[in-house]
Symmetry: C2
Subunit: 278 residues, 2 copies
Amino acid sequence: MRNLNQHNITEAVLASFANTPDPRLKEIISSLIKHLHNFARDVKLTEDEWFKGIQYLTATGHKCTGTRQEFILLSDVLGLSMLTIAMNQDKPAGCTEATVFGPFFLEEAPKFELGSDVSNGAKGAPCWVEGRILGLDGEPIPNATINVWQADDDGLYDVQYEDLGHSQARGILKSNSEGRYYFRTIVAEPYPIPTDGPVGVLLNATKRHPWRPAHLHFMVEAPGYQRLITHVFRDKDGYLDSDAVFGVRQSLIADWVLQADGTYRMDYDFILPKIGVK
Amino acid sequence: MRNLNQHNITEAVLASFANTPDPRLKEIISSLIKHLHNFARDVKLTEDEWFKGIQYLTATGHKCTGTRQEFILLSDVLGLSMLTIAMNQDKPAGCTEATVFGPFFLEEAPKFELGSDVSNGAKGAPCWVEGRILGLDGEPIPNATINVWQADDDGLYDVQYEDLGHSQARGILKSNSEGRYYFRTIVAEPYPIPTDGPVGVLLNATKRHPWRPAHLHFMVEAPGYQRLITHVFRDKDGYLDSDAVFGVRQSLIADWVLQADGTYRMDYDFILPKIGVK
């Protein structure tokens, strides 16, 4: 490899990885190199552009902290996150579809009894949420673990407030013997993804808006069933057709219905495939 | 875009960038998305692998400081740096070829008179370096600015020593009225690129060595001529055929000749095209 040029360098780089012991790593790195090199060749990347790319990735890394993941956000706005989920969470017909996890899930969330108010002081219009956890044959799934989390009326998750000191608008519930779940919370509202970092710079330079349509996050787990990570989106939201992270699926849209007493209600059933069912 | 799946998401993401005002940015981001998505599809990237990728990029960003650029190092070992240079520095026949810039150049380097010892106390066997700066028609280029920098006998550049406090084995010289340059320094030796970060993890996992063949860095600038950034590599080095950053070109290899007095000597002429000549 003493006479590398733009045409033969890719083969030389691939050859340098020939002794990679893990075949999957070798497959991934080889494909990455081919696509990375072909990208650079396709656009005939200049040295200045290459360096801007280096600076952009560096700034993205420097923006990442324990509570902020700018590379996930970048993956989200480039559609890579949703593509990865779509490839791996291709559910059997009839099952609830998956969507992006998002950066605001917390392993540690407060546990609530059914019927509790998970908002815990978060700002927003009151809302009742109710539904069932079901198997693909319609069987109720009792004792399923339901993680729920959402933004407040100002479009912020609890973890985005410095010094809040406690959880808001997130919690863990268990379905009852009939597979039912129900809780009080606040109405989901649209919100912008964080734009104070390199992802905001990208959206601004490309005239893309940062908004996500209103949604409620759910993670549903039950022994013997495949774990489901998804959202329920609020019908008629103006951003359903331009979600900044490409997460919307028609089957995940539900109505938030205004009740006579001025509160809202949303009903949604989750249908989970058993483990091994494709 | 309410029914995005692994097959149609790429078109939706491309469409979201349709209003990008800068046509070059639009071209680059569109190509990047296509290649990024096709990479993920080609290997059917799993969610775990995606997350490992996020963690790897984050760690790479966190390793970057004012004196350490891990993303450039990653670009180097993936051959992207050399590919970019090869595409943009495709010199006219007869001119000296370019190679990777590397992360150890400094804007501020000490100026030396011709014949000075630029090593400035760096460890290594004494060496005399001499040559000419010429145009493509053989005309000498007087008063050319010659930046030179290199690693010492331990394989380290001055900037890699904490608290060294002064430059070593780097400097700026001017060619004389005959286009000649000459200076004292130390012999170039092979050295490993830094492996204490994510790039080291990658090389280790793929059984690649981190070594670069011995070389001396040059940047040559003269009014009316195209800037040249290159190395001169030391002949017979054991890593010439497996440079960790793919920088070797046959035309850039020269002999470091052991003299009767126990010192070394290396001769190399640089040939620069005029601005506009392709």
